[in-house]
């Protein structure tokens, strides 16, 4: 209780994201921009990491996102929420990166079929920060997410990991709220199938997601 009180009390003295971005836009205020970076670098880095499946690349993309936001500060509209603007910039950079990865992968496969070297695919290299105990299951989830088409993956990352409401996801992706929900349902259906196959293939029958629903249903 005291924590929430302190938090709410401290917010009295903080500048909103929109106010800070307005200062950046009109005055090139470096302190306001640094404040925005401090607030959002964690969520943006997590988003980029989930989207491209790699922590280092996610970190680079987060930095690139803020650089892009500063470069495009004059395009920021005062009536728009800063978070929506920021998510869009980050997602577009992720899409660009995924296209580059895909091109590299196709090029690599062509080289491999022609007798090239046998380096692993960069996007599917396990992240270095995953804990060893959960690494296999985390890797299975990461791989499953990467198999989703980008529109579905974006909805999953924004809703499940970043905690945006479906309405907010609709604003970021510029789609109806119902479409965001239907994409989420489709994404979960595909993930369920992928993960069941993956975990069975790996002999992880005990960890198979379908083994847990009976307990979860009681929660409803």
């Amino acid at each position: 209780m005291s924590g929430s009180f302190l938090k709410s009390w401290s917010t009295l003295f903080s500048v909103s994201d929109e106010q800070a971005m307005w200062r950046v836009k009109l005055q090139d205020d470096p302190q306001a921009f640094a404040q925005l970076v401090r607030r959002w670098e964690g969520p943006i880095q997590a988003l980029c990491t989930r989207m491209v499946g790699d922590g280092h690349r996610g970190e680079d993309l987060a930095q690139e996102t803020f650089a892009r936001v500063f470069a495009r500060r004059k395009d920021y509209q005062s009536e728009a929420r800063f978070s929506t603007f920021l998510w869009r910039v980050a997602l577009n950079l992720c899409y660009d990166e995924l296209r580059r990865i895909k091109r590299r992968r196709e090029s690599f496969l062509e080289d491999e079929s022609a007798g090239g070297d046998e380096r692993g695919q960069v996007a599917e290299t396990p992240g270095p920060d995953l804990r060893l105990v959960e690494q296999e299951r985390a890797e299975a989830v990461r791989g499953a997410l990467l198999q989703l088409a980008e529109p579905y993956r974006a909805v999953v990352v924004l809703r499940h990991y970043e905690g945006l409401k479906f309405r907010e996801i609709g604003e970021v992706l510029e789609i109806p709220e119902g479409t965001a929900k239907s994409r989420m349902a489709e994404a979960l259906s595909q993930l369920s199938q992928i993960l069941s196959h993956t975990l069975i293939d790996e002999g992880e029958v005990k960890c198979k997601p379908q083994n847990r629903p009976s307990r979860e249903l009681l929660v409803i």
Binding site: F13, D129, V141, H160, K181, S182, S189, P209, L217
Partner: protein
Amino acid sequence: MQTTEQTKSGTPGDMNHPSREEWMAHLYNELPRPEQARLAAHLKQCPECRARVAAWRSAKFSLDEWKLPVLRPATTAQPLLKWAVAAALVFGLGLGLSGGYLLSVNARELAATRHEMQAQFQAQLDSQREQLIAEMAKQSGATLAAFKAVNAAHLSEVDSLHKELETMAVLTETGLKQNHDQIVSLADNETPPGAPGR
């Protein structure tokens, strides 16, 4: 991979099944409480929906298996600064309340000093104004005297001219009279011979 974007997931012919959009809102607690209860009740009595929701819920929980390391926390300098500002405000408020009496005394003294200085300044200003008026009056008197002197000089000059003119007029008249008498006497002395009575 085949991907479709259906808007409804109810079994064809059975419109009582909630749509999959509703189920997603239910899974992520975005429905109002009555709606949540309605879907939960449906789930208890519908094996078909229960199986589908179980698969979605399982996948949803599986997503939590992929944890990212805790990212670099935000610097604590800003909250500390905020609390320093808050503490300063609270301290200033307390100081204002406790030192209110002293501040009021100081305010009264300040007001008295201000009134005193104002009076002194006003008196000085009045004195300077009177001096200025007197000086202007003195200067005006001198100017008037000068005008009067010049005027008097002009009047005396006119008077003397008038006298000279009168004198000349008298002299002229006298001269004319003398000339007339001489002419008359000359005329008497030069009477022609044979004139009667002489």
